[in-house]
Every structure is written in structure tokens, then in C-alpha cells.
Symmetry: C2
Subunit: 317 residues, 2 copies
Amino acid sequence: MQQNVDVLVSEVGPRDGLQSIRSIMPLEAKKAWISAEAAAGVREMEVGSFVPAKLLPQLADTAEVVAHALGIAGLTVAVLVPNFRGAQAAVAAGVNKITIPFSASDTHLQKNVRRTPEEMLRETREIVALLRTIPAARRPRLEAGISTAFGCSYEGVIPADKVVRLAETLMEVGCDEVGLSDTTGYANPRQVKDLTIRVRQAVGERALAGLHLHNTRGLGLANVLAGLEVGIRTFDSSLGGLGGCPWAPGASGNVVTEDLVFMLDAMGVATGIDLDRLLAVRKILQDALPQEDVYGFVPEAGLPLGYRQRVGSPCQS
Amino acid sequence: MQQNVDVLVSEVGPRDGLQSIRSIMPLEAKKAWISAEAAAGVREMEVGSFVPAKLLPQLADTAEVVAHALGIAGLTVAVLVPNFRGAQAAVAAGVNKITIPFSASDTHLQKNVRRTPEEMLRETREIVALLRTIPAARRPRLEAGISTAFGCSYEGVIPADKVVRLAETLMEVGCDEVGLSDTTGYANPRQVKDLTIRVRQAVGERALAGLHLHNTRGLGLANVLAGLEVGIRTFDSSLGGLGGCPWAPGASGNVVTEDLVFMLDAMGVATGIDLDRLLAVRKILQDALPQEDVYGFVPEAGLPLGYRQRVGSPCQS
């Protein structure tokens, strides 16, 4: 059953997508979505966020969503937590992975989690200490997601040196890995390669696991390709590109899972995901959120004629 | 005035874009578009096609458009011609470059220009002979654009061997260069690299000048990046992604010039194009074609905050 995969596609729609829209998806639809996407072969999903319900009512049922997702064999169940209290809730829920959003931009950090870098670092240390009380076999992995790593819509340019130092600090205080997030859709392929290489030189290859890229300026898949070429093997994306981008109407936010998996699959990169089954999951989203926009080119255009003949022979040679 | 450029962005909107939509753009608007885009720094434009007006009324004024474009200093004025008669008209108009669409798919060739491969090859030889009667100094360059090079929506997979042999044949009969066109939006980055390398090995580096890529499945810019990495230095694109895709509603067709130039510019690749001035040209299109959809992520989302600071320092280091 467990195939080898070259690249792990990590679905973040149930968290990053749903937190960015007005509509609240009913719990049953979330469960159906997660089950169907896991059945299509997706092996890691960020299914929610432990934040106060009054801040993000869309994710108020995260504990129930986690309980459901943990029942799916082979699925790594991840959540985002902004602080120690969230981490406690995540541990209580029994998640496999916890991501903390640590912005490289002080302004964005303040707006997002209402903490200075020093306060957020203290919080991170407390989370690390909490996790170390758990036996290794069932301890959640802790990723520090470095938001606004490629630029910030409040501060503009974020110096690469600052991102590298932050990655080093986060590994020193005990995170298991760091990720780089293009929260604002500012990244370009050259920058993705340069920053990835620099951070990996600083913290080691295994410590920089993944990239979280946005498609706000249409460069999402080109940036994925750049990351792939310098050895990144985990990419976040969102089914239907769900979430959009509040400050850029009409521009999609997250990289669209369907388009990402199509690109990798067409290139002969194994994801373990069945593209037809993945495309069918979109309907659950559309039915549950009829008033929300969904994005994606492949779902609109369909697969190329003769695509199935090409499986295993993506170069048409 | 003449800066060095790393990559030539070849605008095909006035031909490929306008031929794909129902509306007919008035001659004055075409002239204004071409002048404004040339003033923004675009150095090559496919401004029309010499085909019977009853087939493509949108391009019936190509001779007048060419006459206008030839008055713009430093602009390479290209047209598409489907046959010998078109080439005669192009020569009479005094264009700098002629592209013939030679599909690698026999079915697509038949539907597009109503000729078998043998007939189209004979036509090509006649065009070459015609051009050789013109003194070298003012002879238009002849490019054979190999359409459906990455797959065909009638035939499906097009074997790479067939594309390579066609490129060789086209160079043997006297074309100055070949281009590879992803007419159907089927290409993926690995295929772009593989086929580019194979064709260049067969015909030489300078004989494969450019790629004409579509964004139908969202992979347009990733495919550009792939081409760039194997040494391609000319990319076609269409302002506003004009043209769409008749068999895939909502999916855009050509790579969007604005997004392409943003990607290259952000990467520090010199195009000679002023991005702000380019973005302003879009308004001419929208005003002249209010009922047509235009595409593009960068025009919607705007440039990143602090983008100007980064000029010459795209890696934020």
C-alpha cells in the first residue's frame, strides 16, 4: 500500500484556506474533504488551528477535525498553533505535527500573533519544553514556519540574513525543522533557490523540510520548480487554491493542490496521489462553500488528451 | 539607448491574442498598443497574420499595422503566414520576420492550414526560395514555429522523435530558425527541458531560438523557467494573456506578458522592459476591448512593497 514518493504534497486548505474565507464550513464537510483527499493519496494535512474561537470561528471545531483525521491510516495530522496554549490543546488532541508561525517581519509577527520576536521566542521555548515531556514515540514534530520569509506587505524587503539567523535560532531552541513561507506571494524562483540554499547551509538539509508558496503573482509553480531543483521535497498547497487573498481581489492565494500535483505528476515526480481522485475532491469543497471562489487551471482545462498513455513516460520520448 | 538584454520577450498578442477573440480591435487601438508596448521596451512583436480577411477579419488590417510598426525604431516586426501567398504579402509589406506555423501533429496541421505535411513542406521551400530573391540586408528572417510540439488536442501525445526530425527537416529546407510551441498548454517543465535539449542537439543552439508557451494548465511560467535554465533566451507572450482558450472556458491561453516580465525582472534577468510602463499598456487593451477577458496575476495583485529597492538586488541579500 505504502508507495515511495519523491515529493510530499502537504494540504493546508482545511487550515490556511478555511481561515481566510468568511464562510464557515460545516464539520461534516471538513471530515468528508479530509477523508476523500487522504483516500486520493495525500499523506499530510494541516487540518486546523488551535486559536480562540472568537478570533477564527471557521476553525472552532479543530479538536473534532483532528479526532476524525487521526482515524485515517497513514495520514500525518498537522495543526497550526500561534502560542503555548494552542500547543497544549494540540498535544491534548494528539496531533502528529505542530507548526508555529514565526514571522521574519517584526511588524507581521506583531499583527499576526501580537508578540515581539523576543516574546515569540520565549513562547517557542515553552512549547519545546512541553513537547519534551512527551515520550518520543508519540511526541508531535515541531516545525517553525518562517512567515514573510521572501518579503512582507508591511515592511517590504526582508533581508535574507535575518531569515537565516532566525532559522538558526529556531533550531537552536529545539524546533525539529523550519519551513519557509512566502506568505505574501513576493518570491521569485531565483530568490527561492538562493534563500533555500543559504538556510540549508546554516541549519542542515533535513532541518529545512518544506516550502509554503503562494500564487498571488502567478509564480507559485515556477517557485515550486525552483525549490524542487535545489532539493526541497515538501510543498504546501491548498485544494482549489482556497483562501484567495484579501488584499488582492481576484488573485489567488495558496498554490492550488490540483495544479501542483498535475505538474509533478506530468514531470514523472511521484507524489503517491491519484490525480483523478484528487480532482473529484474539489466537488466536496464547491458543494459545501457555494459562495466561495475556487481556483485552479487544470480543473478548468482538464487533463491533456492521451495523458494516461504518458504515465511513466512523461517526456514523450 | 540600446541596453543589453538577457532575454527577449516577444509580444504575440496583436496576432495570437486578437485572432482568438470575437471582437475586432480598431486599427487605431492596435497602433496605440504596439507603440506603447514598444515604448515600454518590448523589442519584438508579432503584429498580425497575412491570411484571407474572410477567415480572420480580426487581422484584415495587418498591412496597415505592419506599416505603422515599421516606423518604430528598434522594433523587430514579425507576422505569421500560413502559406506562400501570405509570405508574398509579408515581403511586400516589408516585415523583419516571418513565422510559419508548422504543426508536428498532422491532424492539427490539416485543421490549421489545410495541408498535409508534404504540402506544407513544399510551401515552406517556396517561401525560402522567395526570400532568397531578396538581398540579405533586407531579407526577413524565417522562423518555422513547430506547433503542438508538446502534445496535441486531436492526437494526444506527439513523439519527441517526430518533433526533432521535423526541426531538422525545416532547417535543411532553409528556415533560419525553429521555435517550439505549446499550442495546447500540454507541456511540463521536464518535457520543456528534454525536448529543448534534444532539438538543440539536432539543429544547433542558435537554430532553436525561442519557446511559445501557453498557460492553459497554469504551468506557463514554470515552463518558461525550465526553458531559461537550458539556455532559451526568447519567450513569446501576450499582453493580458489575451486570447483565452476556446476549448477551456476560464482558462487563459498565452503566457501573460505582464507576469512573465515580472518574473524575469524580479529574478534579475534583464529584459529591457520597464515594468510600470508595461503595466500601463494594459489599459489600452481594456478600453478597446471592454467585452473581452484579460488575465494576469501581477496586474491584479500589484508589485511587492519595496520592489523598487530591490532592483539590482533581487535576492534580498
